[in-house]
Symmetry: C2
């Protein structure tokens, strides 16, 4: 059975006020766990697309469309988990201090990523394989740009 995502034309009222109110009660270590969960799942749905764009995984238009849809939601999930109160959560995290000292730049990197994902969602239904692969590349670049500046180097 196919199920439709029923989010048509749904404007997200995701202002800063909303974020602060909703999450002011969440413990710092839970915030870290939740934002890491969002990153883990971005990896799950981005990984195969990167493989396709690089020609290492067989291209599958349905997988691209589905994964892009999941990334559309996931790209909205990590950011409130970087609230000021999560700065010294006392748990292992690769989050760099620049997240808090360069907040505007961090926000810009989030926006770039979300815009890249939304462009990918749009093009994913076009059937234009070259354009889709380019959009995957742009999304991967947006992931990397944020990691470059705001995540500890990974081994």
């Amino acid at each position: 059975m196919k199920k439709r995502l029923m989010l048509a034309g749904f404007a997200l009222a995701l202002g800063a006020g909303y974020t602060l109110t909703a999450f002011s009660q969440v413990k710092p270590e839970i915030m870290v766990k939740q934002r890491q969960a969002a990153m883990t799942l971005q990896g799950k749905y981005m990984g195969p697309l990167g493989g396709m764009a690089a020609g290492k995984v067989p291209y599958n238009a349905d997988t691209v469309a589905f994964n892009a849809a999941m990334l559309d939601a996931l790209s909205r999930m990590p950011w409130d988990g970087f609230a000021e109160s999560s700065k010294d959560a006392g748990v292992k995290t690769a989050a760099l201090p620049a997240i808090w000292s360069e907040g505007a730049k961090f926000k810009e990197a989030q926006d770039n990523f979300q815009s890249a994902v939304q462009a990918l969602v749009k093009v994913s239904r076009s059937g234009d394989e070259a354009a889709i692969k380019a959009a995957i590349g742009a999304t991967g670049k947006a992931c990397g740009a944020c990691h470059q500046n705001f995540r500890e180097k990974q081994n």
Copy 2:
């Protein structure tokens, strides 16, 4: 800035074949990590709604609508992480053997949960607070029903 989820009318071709093909290469311990991440985020977006339905958190229609939209995507994410190959992943998991020995029942519990979430998404834009709280309750019940049979008791 408000951003729209651009998933309007997008039919998800999420058959069993797709799932097996796409994830046959994923290591068992990664599958466990990814499915646990999806559960963590379901908790993140379901928690405040449960609080609202129980009258412990102030009711906020925007939060309900946003969280329901996130749950719509998240409710599709954990299940391929329970592939047969993840049965003995060698990492800590609360997944019970019934997941694999009672596959049809597990699938039914997933479907019930997804249906409850989709009903919540639909009603979340109605402005009918009583109906919305009932839909939250039904979703929570679907979470619990699956945990009851397929997750180790939590302390």
